[in-house]
């Protein structure tokens, strides 16, 4: 339980800091840029629930993100719905999308789910391009409502909201990881048939992960139209989201909820800096190069590198990197090291 109180204290501190920042900092760009970084924390964390834990790679994160965004646009146009409603409905819609894609493809092991997610991206973009109610291919302008007095500007409100969403997403990912659900998902990744044989309902767990992951991606995208004040399909369905969503966890390390957070903060910040100092076209290249470098040099991501260095200097692993099993014997267990893809077939 001590771990939980520490985590909740950290979460509250982050949200409080976000609120305080909106009162202290004058420069609007700080919030504009930080929002993007936080949005990537949600997106990367969402991807990792299915991709990192269970080993099913989603190449269509951009589609889930954009579907969340366009759900919000439709709600704004139709009902002038408030932000909270946009977030909730976007989560339901993209969660359902995740469930549907999962139900159709997760029965098959291996790469079928990944292929289907690519198809989903194409389908969703085609639907939006041809749906004139939400602007079609021309895009649509979305007016920010007046900001509440507390925040000063609507971008600042969205920044605080995204900080809250990031904390909630990470809390969910952390719960999934350290609970029996996470152990079941890792069992699926290691060997699906063996997992099933020791009582793990593999299909149900995969569907749960696909739904939760999809819902969080939609939530990351829902405030996007209000944040940009304008949305059009090419930027909403940009390859950048799909690539970043999987590059960030891989660079940070997929073994723990911390990995996607590290990857998103690091890569998101670098992207923002490159956009401002060099060019906005270059930031996708940066992600690509970093991804290739990490896959070759440090396949376990930054977490894996840190762990390796610590082991070299100190010997045993630090307690923080271990997941304890519930029970009276409180000696912590280390996370498994070599993520050996086991022989799935005989």
């Amino acid at each position: 339980m001590r771990d939980w109180t520490k985590f909740i204290a950290g979460a509250v501190a982050i949200i409080a800091a976000a609120v305080v920042l909106t009162r202290m900092v004058q420069n609007e760009y700080v919030f504009f840029a930080s929002y993007v970084v936080l949005q990537f924390v949600v997106l990367a964390t969402a991807w990792n629930i299915l991709g990192g834990a269970a080993g099913y790679v989603n190449f269509g994160s951009g589609a889930f993100f954009a579907t969340g965004a366009y759900t919000a646009v439709a709600l704004i146009k139709a009902f002038d719905a408030p932000l909270v409603v946009q977030l909730l409905v976007a989560a339901i819609v993209t969660g359902a999308l995740g469930f549907l894609v999962g139900a159709l493809t997760l029965r098959l092991r291996g790469i079928f789910f990944s292929i289907a997610t690519v198809a989903v991206a194409v389908i969703c973009e085609t639907v939006v391009v041809n749906w004139s109610f939400v602007g079609g291919s021309r895009g649509i302008a979305v007016l920010q409502p007046p900001a509440p007095a507390l925040f000063g500007s609507y971008t600042r409100l969205l920044f605080v909201a995204m900080a809250l969403l990031a904390v909630l997403a990470v809390a969910l990912a952390r719960y999934v990881q350290i609970s029996w659900i996470g152990r079941g998902l890792r069992a699926i990744r290691d060997n699906e048939e063996a997992a099933e044989s020791v009582g793990v309902p593999t299909m149900k767990l995969k569907l749960f992960a696909a739904t939760a992951s999809g819902a969080l991606m939609g939530i990351a995208g829902a405030p996007f139209p209000l944040y940009m004040s304008f949305i059009e399909p090419t930027s909403a369905f940009s390859l950048n989201y799909a690539v970043s969503a999987l590059a960030m966890p891989i660079i940070g390390g997929t073994a723990s909820w911390v990995g996607p957070v590290i990857g998103a903060v690091l890569l998101g910040s670098v992207q923002q800096i490159v956009t401002v100092t060099v060019s906005s076209e270059l930031n996708v290249l940066v992600v690509g190069l970093l991804l290739v470098t990490f896959v070759v040099v440090a396949p376990q991501g930054i977490l894996g590198l840190v762990r390796k260095l610590l082991r070299r200097s100190k010997g045993p692993l630090p307690a923080r990197d271990k997941i304890p099993l519930p029970g009276r014997h409180k000696a912590p267990l280390p996370l498994g090291e070599g993520r050996v893809r086991d022989n799935k077939r005989q």
């Binding site: 060997n191 020791v198 009582g199 073994a255 519930p326 996370l335 498994g336 070599g338």
Partner: protein, 241 residues
Amino acid sequence: MTPLLQVTAVSKRFGGFVALSDVSLDVRRGERLGIIGPNGSGKTTLINCICGALRSDSGSIGFDGSDVTRLPSYKRTRLGMARSFQIPRPFASMTLAENVAVPLEYVRHRGSLHRADIRGEALAILEQMGLGDRADASAGALTQVDLRKLELARALAARPSLLILDEVMAGLSSVEVDEVLGIVLGLNRQGMTVIMIEHIMRAIMRFSERVVCLDAGRIMAEGPPEHIADDPNVRRIYLGA
């Protein structure tokens, strides 16, 4: 008393290859059944059909009074079946204790996790299998012998009423074979029904109350071990004599 396991006219084909044809088999509660047969005779396919890793093409499988023919494998495990795999399939990214914790969490303590001492029970099971000192080692780094013991430990953690062992002793030294046999016999004395596939004749003859010999997907002999060992057909196809 009805048998614990009732396999009725089960057939399974892979394309044109008939792996099992019309296999029927009853296993009574508390029995120790050995299954022998040459490579490719359908032993593992039979186990896969019983456990649910494969769906049989026809026939039915009854377990503990209910028809499980269409149940997915995890539900059969929850009803009380557990198995080991011929080629060990550890959860390689986890420690040994975590490997054993999975069935503890998903079968034995499902629904009452908050009260369970998962770590303590996992350690006790590993201890019983002689892996106690390795509890926090990564399962990806084990030797073949320890992997086989881990397979057994993980199967036992589900506390099954029917334990199915698919060549769990392959590659073990004779001392280790005796050790594992001792453990399994002890479990059987406590009431566990055990089906054992094995190529080590010394072990299977000592262990089994009844032996079934499969050949080309059919049961070609069945009876007490001494009887089977003398069966001319078995000697011909299996022992090559």
